[in-house]
Amino acid sequence: MTAPIATNQTILVVGGGISGMTAALEAAECGKQVILVEKTPTLGGRTAQLYRYFPKMCHPTCGLEINLKRIKGNPNVKVMTMTEVTAVAGSRGNYAVTLKVSPRYVNENCTTCGECAKAVTSEIADAFNYGDGKTAAKLKAAYLPHMMAYPQRYVIDASIAGTAEGEAARAACKYGAVDLDMKEETSQLNVGAVVWATGWRPFDANKIQPYGYDRYPNVITSVEFERLADPRGPTGGRILRPGDGKEAKNIAFIQCAGSRDENYLRHCSRICCMATLKQTQYVREAFGDDGKSTVYYIDIRAIDRFEDFYQNVQNDKTVGFVKSKVARIAENRANGNPILHGVDTEGYHRYAVEHDLVVLAVGMEPEVTGVKLPADIIQDSSNFIEGSKDGGMFGAGAASSPLDVNRAVQSATAASLKAIQVIHKTASTEAA
């Protein structure tokens, strides 16, 4: 594919998660020209991987449906997936951007009929379900990233591109949609302003050695737990622990897994407390009064009107709270249960408790894979984007600060206007 036409009146948005989609759409619905680039094969980002939102317990995919409808219907937004920004030259009002577009090996002829997948046997990690982690979810090497993937088009994984399997996939497609001759492309864009909505990634739990994520199968991360609870997830919404596939009814949630810790992330990731409170309700949804959630925390940060959600969860007799940073996790070799060791600091009570499953509320850190920020970008001590020296580039959403979805969208909307201001200034100075 070739890059769309762009001018210094065009806004480039990097990242197709909810923040990027918002920044792009808000500008586009103001009548501005926007190019939205996303490094993965689909829009949606990490919010699409959440089962429910706090505090309403509604579904992120509901908002995704609306945003996708907005994008399909708006001629001002040009979407480029599997595209990374490799270089940004120039300055405020006039940037020269270099894009790298990776081959999808499937063109717009794809009807998502799924015949190519049937023709392929080899599997790859299912990124949407955190398949490279504890869920170990897999999907075919010819795949639709997820049910609401946009563009609604299959992907042939590069691993089978040059192989017989790739050929089989091509042969299976009645519509000439599989194009194995696609090559990586580089293209140049001229834009006036750039919004970096490159998002976040879960902190690498392997680094938190005392919790043994790397050693104990029944210690998982909060993002993986979202997929376990989701009916569209690898377990069909059943909360089964990775160690032995047994139902996990007695679950420990460990807060600040990486966050507020100078050995890992010095900042507070803001969302984890609320996310955990929400997830305790997944346990209730799954097991009713037979479920048991225990939250190990330092401070519960249920900020502003989320407080009442916290109060409701406190009133849920299946949920317990322990003010303690868990010291270490051991494993009961006999039954594979993780054993938590620590001290409840409220009154000093020592515990060594077994749970079926431990969920680490891992912190948010800025996404870096496939993200090459220009030197002009200003970052804080945790590498979140504060802005740019020349004032023509902006951070939006979780790329700018650890934010929940609601505030990420606010941030993206604000960034969108800042970008429009740059465009406006350029236009008016050119007019003058």
Binding site: N263, A327, R328, V343, T345, Y348, R350
Partner: protein
């Protein structure tokens, strides 16, 4: 010693009024980090001798901030530290907890507010004296001193109790009776002692313990 300790104690009380945190910051090894604790409790849970603690480290930090001077300095908790450094490596605020515990113990000991007869306290003193005498630790003399620290009778009991162990080491040539006469020591023991005395003098002056 006790009289010195007493006057030192009085000085400290006068100097820091009731601001115990300040006193700790000025006189305890790495005491300036006490204020950085955020009460997560990871240290308390990480200590191998945790169950033996009357107060966990994080609680002691809170007590210091709350000005509970006598309780803190009189606590035997710090004396339970095995120097395993688990707390240090896990502390999310990177407090040098082991050092602070050592520092508190030392300060309490020097003010003579530490629990009387606290075994680790006594043994630590024996150990140090033993060290200063020869520049090296003479294990046999040290152990014997240990056994007899509570008087001759008790000493014999202790020695008998540990006989098996002692004999084992003896057989294994890892306990040398010859140590009783002579044995290992620094050649420049004079210089060594002067040096240690000087160091102590400087530190005591700094801490108003002189």
């Amino acid at each position: 010693m006790t009289t010195n300790a007493n006057s030192a104690n009085q000085n400290a009380l006068a100097r820091y009024k009731n601001n115990f945190l300040k006193e700790v910051e000025a006189n305890v090894e790495d005491g300036h980090m006490v204020k950085m604790c955020m009460q997560c409790g990871v240290c308390a849970g990480s200590c191998p001798l945790g169950p033996a603690w009357q107060h966990s480290p994080q609680k002691i930090f809170m007590m210091i901030r709350a000005g509970k001077r006598e309780e803190v300095l009189g606590s035997d908790s710090m004396w339970m530290c095995t120097s395993c450094y688990n707390c240090i490596v896990r502390c999310p605020r990177q407090l040098p907890i082991t050092h602070i515990m050592h520092g508190l113990a030392n300060y309490a000991h020097r003010l003579d507010l530490a629990p009387k007869g606290q075994p680790t306290r006594e043994i630590a003193k024996l150990f140090w004296d033993n060290l200063v005498k020869t520049g090296r630790v003479n294990e046999l003399k040290f152990s014997l001193a240990m056994y007899f620290k509570d008087g001759f009778g008790q000493g014999v009991k202790n020695a008998m109790a540990m006989q098996a162990t002692g004999l084992g080491l003896l057989k294994a040539k890892r306990l040398n009776p010859m140590e009783l006469v002579g044995g290992h020591k620094c050649k420049d023991i004079g210089g060594f002692r002067k040096m240690v005395a000087k160091a102590r003098e400087i530190e005591d002056r700094r801490r108003g313990l002189a």
